[in-house]
Symmetry: C2
Subunit: 426 residues, 2 copies
């Protein structure tokens, strides 16, 4: 009898953890990803702000899985799923059949129906995104330095980050540090500290998934860093010159989108019910209703627990990946499937060099201790000994000196092809 | 009286060393570079072979020079020089006047009149080049893994490096190590060790600028690593499918050009005599004949000493940069100019993980000791404490395990815009 063939699409937290949890199972796995690497997304904002370089937070999938004999890695893009035929179709036209499919392709940025904003307000989900953002941030200061018109210079020194969740908060705090400390003394025509960094949140408070007291602490820490926090202020328009909010247009050549994600479009080819963000409403065992041979894990899954949605965070993705692996093993052994239960260990967000907020359910702390905790947790969970060392090293340098390790602009400053690539990546 | 204004174009070894040597001089310096960083070119092949990431070998010019009060850094591209008007014209249309000009824009790759080869055989002079090369090298193995046709797969696993100088030797040795060690166990349909790496040299021996005995040792070391060294074999044609040499066509989807450089085209706008490679024949004090206010330093300068041309290597560029600074200070103080004298300390090339050749004029050594020497010299000369630490760390990891720190492919695998960017950069 042919071995049970599993196809896993997406090598992020969910897909990779599912793969590894199946290492001893009597299956053959094909892991498909359109990138050659697993990405540690929580530190993506560090690549975007030139604190780390791409390879520091990513590891090649082939390398991670080289010792697992029942898995093969394929660099490819999946165009669609054909559930009736039990196969996936790749972008090169090849088809791959499966006995069981796990879709763990995650989320991408979404603009609440305003896709025209995308080229002007890039998001942060992949390494491509992070490098593009880094380029734009560094070039903004270069343009300001060379600009003789005072108004235009001001627009280059205005930065806006849309979305007050952990990503937006981390970006805003880091950007303020760069402007006020890292770049000090390096320019002759501008004072980088005069850059204005605004964090714009549509809802009543930033970090809405945290307890109110921690939201308040985070806002204080941001303001101490020089970030202007604007709440209750949805963005109405974004063009290349700035954004409009509350009826007022603000000139800002650099706008970053950290406000919304939507599920990877691949889910549409399943032909099943999706929620408003395009995620798949899964059964308690994480399979697709009507398709017990198809599982969803990670940001692509829409699941409610105790009346609240399971959040699209790394720990949830990992737990879902492991649960899918368990469900597959149960099935092969003839056991009944078990429902998935998300264990929420808490929430962390970092504000800047030495400040963070940590919520461990009843245990809340902030400030420097929280920052050490945040650092330890992230370094611990990074894959790869070398990566952990490098990240620790870069943090030590930054801690002492505010210096950022990766302030390199690749490509000619007027080369817009690098910018356009972002919208193609979609 | 207005301060003496110096414009320096190019922040490589020559331009940066000249700038720093003028820190106490009564001048105002504008340093213009089209990249925001100073690049440690000797380690560029490491970025190209995924052993280091871009920021490890580059440092932002603004950061390096932040403490030097008499210098301003400008990110811009110079379109041409207007010597009669004593000014340079930037690509954005702005003009900058100078009292003294230093042109230190270096060299770019040249194809001996066969510019059509450029897209098929990229060279290695900038970070852009290195990242493009890295992408192609990593993708070649990915394509081979997915390819079902045996002949096409063979073509993906054939690599050719054209040019047996230090760059070609370093690339070939490292590529062979990657194929035989780093990627072991990571593929299921190919054996990466079956990759064939050929180093093709038109002349009678590789490393022709080294003593014959060291050329022979280097060739032995390369062959021990699995590189096929072909000498006396000029390349006749290169297309996207392979190359022709000695009348024979060899299918090879990845060809790297390390065989020829030509001077930056900017020299042409000077209106003075250039040599065959486009370099400026300078006077003994490194100024341009007929234009005592214009100096040339680095790879752009053509200078003969004791019947031999001064080589286009980093130590020569640094010495020239310092000499130009001295010449400028002499002039301002009314002293006579002194002729430049290149002090050749020797030559180093590394072959692979633990082998190198070192020529210190009478003192030749090779093998592991040479490798340690090479490593120490390169780390010592790197700019930046953090960069030195990171490079040492990566080397330690590679030394123990053959692992390479930066095996990340950015962008979609079929995205040709990244490839096309190379020819535009020209």
């Amino acid at each position: 009898m042919a071995p049970h063939r599993i196809v896993i699409v997406g090598g992020g937290f969910a897909g990779l953890w599912a793969t590894r949890a199946l290492s001893k199972a009597p299956v053959e796995i094909l892991l498909i990803d359109r990138a050659n690497h697993h990405l540690f997304q929580p530190l993506l904002y560090q690549v975007a702000t030139a604190g780390l370089s791409s390879p520091d937070i990513a590891a090649p999938l082939r390398h991670i899985l080289r010792g697992q004999k029942n898995v093969e890695v394929r660099l490819a893009s999946v165009e669609r799923i054909e559930p009736a035929a039990r196969r996936v179709v790749l972008d090169d036209g090849n088809v791959v059949g499966y006995d069981t499919l796990l879709l763990s392709t995650g989320a991408t940025h979404a603009y609440f129906g305003h896709d025209s904003w995308a080229p002007h307000a890039p998001g942060l989900k992949t390494l491509d995104d992070a490098l593009l953002l880094r380029r734009r941030l560094l070039l903004a200061f270069e343009h300001a330095e060379a600009e003789t018109d005072a108004e235009k210079r001001r627009a280059w020194l205005n930065f806006a980050i849309v979305g007050g969740g952990p990503t937006g908060v981390e970006l805003a705090g880091t950007l303020a540090e760069i402007a006020r400390h890292t770049l000090k003394r390096e320019f002759r025509h501008i004072d980088p500290a005069s850059a204005r960094v605004r964090l714009i949140e549509a809802g009543p408070r930033i970090l809405s998934s945290f307890p109110e007291s921690l939201s308040a602490k985070a806002q204080k820490q941001l303001e101490r860093l020089g970030v202007e926090v604007v709440t209750g202020s949805p963005v109405e328009a974004i063009d290349g010159q700035g954004y409009r909010s509350g009826g007022v247009f603000v000139p800002a050549r650099t706008v970053v989108w950290a406000a919304g994600v939507a599920a990877s479009p691949l889910a549409r080819s399943l032909g099943v019910e999706l929620d408003r963000a395009g995620r798949v409403r899964v059964a308690p065992d994480l399979s697709v209703p009507g398709h017990p041979e198809i599982f969803i894990a990670g940001d692509l899954a829409a699941l409610t627990q105790d009346g609240k949605p399971v959040p699209g965070v790394a720990p949830a993705a990992k737990q879902m990946g492991k649960h899918v692996a368990q469900s597959i093993r149960d099935r092969l052994a003839g056991r009944a499937p078990r429902p998935f239960r998300y264990r929420d260990f808490g929430n962390l967000a970092t504000i800047g060099r030495m400040a963070a907020v940590v919520d461990l359910h009843g245990l809340h702390f902030s400030g420097l201790i929280a920052w050490w905790f945040w650092l330890a947790a992230h370094v611990f969970f990074l894959i790869g000994f070398r990566n952990r060392l490098v990240v620790l090293l870069n943090w030590a340098v930054a801690y002492w000196s505010y210096q950022r390790a990766a302030r390199i602009i690749i490509g000619h400053k007027d080369d817009t092809s690098a910018d356009e690539k972002d919208t193609e990546a979609g």
